[in-house]
Symmetry: C2
Subunit: 138 residues, 2 copies
DNA sequence: TTGTAATTTTGTAACGATTTCAAAATTGAA
DNA sequence: TTCAATTTTGAAATCGTTACAAAATTACAA
């Protein structure tokens, strides 16, 4: 069995064709796509693919813990198959969402010392390196 | 002129009755409310208040930089008149959103060193202290 | 004060993302 | 092959938000 199918099976998800393709898309592209993006792209290969299936599948992936939701913008829900704790940077110029690492235990948090932390989301918005240079040389 | 009216005027916003009440609500309650919450509460005092006015006013507050959007959950947009950089903790049990401070320059970020940072949002989800004890003693 | 223009508020309709739902298609076992 | 269980699909419903034009309020000059 291919690794992606095994990964789904191990996560308690039956590896249907659509599920394999959606998870592969997330893992290969690593582009933090919206439902719209996933559906539009896969439609080329799977002309019958329903948007509902994309919604259902992603909801299942999130429930089973193999995908996380990225809420960096309030008008678009993005998805990420990288479920490690990492940060996301959105460039306000080119709209690309970059990954970054941060020292999770160096956070120096006060006021909520006795709370139980389950998920940490660090979002930064600004201008990416590429756009910075492009904008400067214009 | 009262301080809240002066604050609006200084921010380039004409202090209409509705705007004063909405900003006061945000500043007094500090509860990171949704549009729904603000509208429902203020309706007791201002029976003619339109939800559109709440939307318009908050959009204006954000544009003028006196309110920030809190995107801790993907199905609800919350608002905060505290525009300082601070973190938000959402309790998954009681749904309350708490403020917390964090050392902004202690973040130890890698991979995006040369990017320009404009906004930083740190969201943590988990169980708050109160709920932790309540759940334990049940 | 009155008239008039500018601004603000309001309510309805439109919109877009997401969910619900039941039928159709597919899969898996007997 | 048959039949039940699962999955996918597409249409309709829902929900938060925005667009828009009319109504109300405010500002100001005559
Ligand atoms: Mn990521
Ligand atoms: Mn806050
Ligand atoms: Zn960029
Ligand atoms: Zn709690």
């Amino acid at each position: 069995m291919k690794t992606i199918e095994k990964y789904l099976t191990d996560s308690g998800i039956k590896p249907s064709y659509q599920r394999i393709r959606i998870l592969s898309y997330l893992m290969d592209k690593k582009n933090h796509p919206t439902v719209e993006m996933i559906h539009k792209e896969l439609l080329h290969d799977i002309p019958t693919l329903s948007k509902t299936t994309v919604y259902n599948t992603l909801k299942q992936f999130v429930e089973k813990g193999i995908t996380q939701i990225i809420n960096i913008e309030d008008n678009e829900t993005r998805y990420d198959a990288d479920i490690s704790t990492h940060g996301h940077f959105k460039c306000l110029n080119c709209n690309k969402v970059y990954d970054f690492r941060f020292g999770n235990n160096s956070l120096e948090i006060s006021d909520i010392e006795d709370f139980d932390f389950l998920q940490t989301h660090l979002y930064i918005k600004g201008i990416c390196k590429k756009c910075k240079y492009l904008l400067n040389t214009k």
